[in-house]
């Protein structure tokens, strides 16, 4: 089979590999679509090695495809089923194996290539909003980088859950597109003269727009944005730390976190154990897949690019100019 592989120096090549063989609790999937994520870019640069148990040099954290082989112990997934899910690596290839418990069924009407860009963003967003932050109707959600893959997924899910959303993005174009997805309040992050984030100005804008603070914050940017989150949070606010694009170090105002009784929760999908991944997959299948089927939420696709042009596709993601997902067509 053809597979995207990371070779020395961080270059990508298309290599020919043997098809993987499913373990007793696994399925073999003929991949149709596989989204590219920022973690793949880090992995290409050698900064985010694959965890044990997945191909070390084939990237790809999400897929949609057709089941072509089924392990002896598998229950609930059959030959010919259309499935999608999150994997620890190895999705950017014509075939992959994964635990059946980590697969959700794709409804027949949905496009299987586009669905390859759904799981990582929507599982992450649903897990953060619902499982970690217990989002309630009419609460305010603050989403930084709202035009990103996880951002647009979270925006749509929050609106489907009857919440209100304030989002930040660094271009008018992204904010305008997010308004089309239901964004209630759009903020261009205010900058100081030296180009750095004006933390207090951002926090005050959020406090004003939300009339008292964000109940839930999805922190996809990191760095000094976290300080703004704490100042901009409502009493009993929940801040979920998901991304660190702007940096891994933040200041924490302990007295404000105490006075507002905030919860600041760090999360990452990739390192969770198999049972936790299965639970997140079931929550996604129960709560998100029906919304996809009814088109209450939709995948936001920037580009679909053939597997053999993976290198170009990666550069596009790294350019930070995309709106929504870049997906490899692995057929």
């Amino acid at each position: 089979m053809r597979a995207v592989t990371v070779v020395e120096g961080g270059r990508l090549e298309i290599a020919y590999r043997d098809e993987p063989v499913p373990a007793p609790d696994e399925v073999l999937v003929r991949t149709h679509g596989a989204g590219i994520n920022r973690a793949d870019i880090l992995q290409r640069a050698g900064r985010y090695p694959a965890p044990p148990g997945v191909p070390a040099d084939i990237p790809g954290l999400e897929f949609a495809g057709v089941v072509e082989g089924v392990g002896a112990e598998v229950d609930g997934v059959r030959h010919g089923d259309t499935v999608f899910g999150v994997v620890g690596g190895g999705a950017q290839a014509e075939y992959l194996t994964t635990k059946a418990a980590h697969c959700a069924h794709v409804p027949p009407a949905l496009d299987l290539v586009a669905m390859g860009g759904v799981p990582e963003a929507f599982v992450t967003a649903h897990d953060a909003l619902v499982t970690l932050a217990h989002l309630a109707p009419r609460e305010w959600v603050l989403i930084h980088a709202v035009g990103s893959g996880v951002g647009t997924a979270a925006l749509q899910l929050a609106k489907a859950l009857a919440a209100r959303v304030v989002g930040t993005a660094r271009t008018d174009d992204k904010l305008e597109r997010c308004r089309g997805l239901g964004l209630d309040s759009a903020i261009m992050p205010p900058l100081r003269d030296d180009g750095s984030l004006d933390v207090d100005a951002l926090a005050w804008q959020v406090l004003e727009e939300t009339d008292g603070g964000a109940d839930v914050t999805l922190e996809l940017v990191g760095g000094s944005y976290v300080e703004a989150d704490v100042t901009a949070a409502a009493r009993l606010g929940r801040i979920v730390l998901i991304g660190t694009l702007a940096g891994v170090h933040a200041g924490l105002q302990v007295h404000i976190a105490m006075a507002k009784r905030l919860s600041i929760v760090g999360t990452v999908l990739r390192t969770r154990d198999a049972a936790e991944k299965a639970a997140a997959t079931r929550a996604f299948e129960a709560d998100v897949v029906p919304l996809l089927e009814r088109e209450v939420v939709v995948p936001i696709v920037d580009s679909i690019i053939p597997l053999e042009d993976a290198s170009k596709a990666y550069d596009l993601v790294a350019s930070d100019t995309t709106f929504g997902k870049v997906i490899l067509d692995c057929r």
Copy 2:
């Protein structure tokens, strides 16, 4: 009645005031004991004003005493009952009024003056360990300032819950006394040449003692200790922010919080609404009072000082040389 009052310039005086009159959902309590807390010291200095609805100039956040008056709507608390609880202020006086729902019953065998120093520390510690951090048996708890009022309460509760405790304190004497209360591992916080905390050295000591990190941390010190907490936490660790003696600003390593999927939760009792305070009181009555009755946990009393010597008692608390609580005898 006699009452401790804060007068201009942050001095304390004993004033004569009318006895308060209970509202329909309140009881009138003849105070026997009232503990002094660090918040009282801040309030005396004008840095922590009393919330609405409590006497603005009579400090005191906890009490034990005898019910001498009962509002018309009160159910479950009767004239002559011995009760203790947390209040928003006004406890350091011969009489106080408080909601009946914020009172827990004191078992007959226990000393009512000493019990006046129990509620704030034990409610805070129980709420943090059980309600916020969901402590499980055999987990490791890291308690900074383990010799403090909340520290010794948390240490005893954690041991009663079959957890293991590593604690820090700045004198050998405090650590030695805490060993007598069941402390499994005692750490003197390592300092740099300039006298500041050596954050990494502290974190590594905790990681070594706990063989992989603290599952629950009670952060009673704040400042740079919070950075050590994040580095020293186990996977899925929970850090509860309770105090800021060492400062309100901390650094937060967002990537570590994400990779370990930490929860960092800020908490304060005083600003909670009435229903939340009632819930915390019920949890304290159900889980902690039976342990007090069986002497599985005991109040750690540094000194009992007559009400009229309040000024001396406050200075003692401020001196930071005490082990356990300083309690005013209000009889």
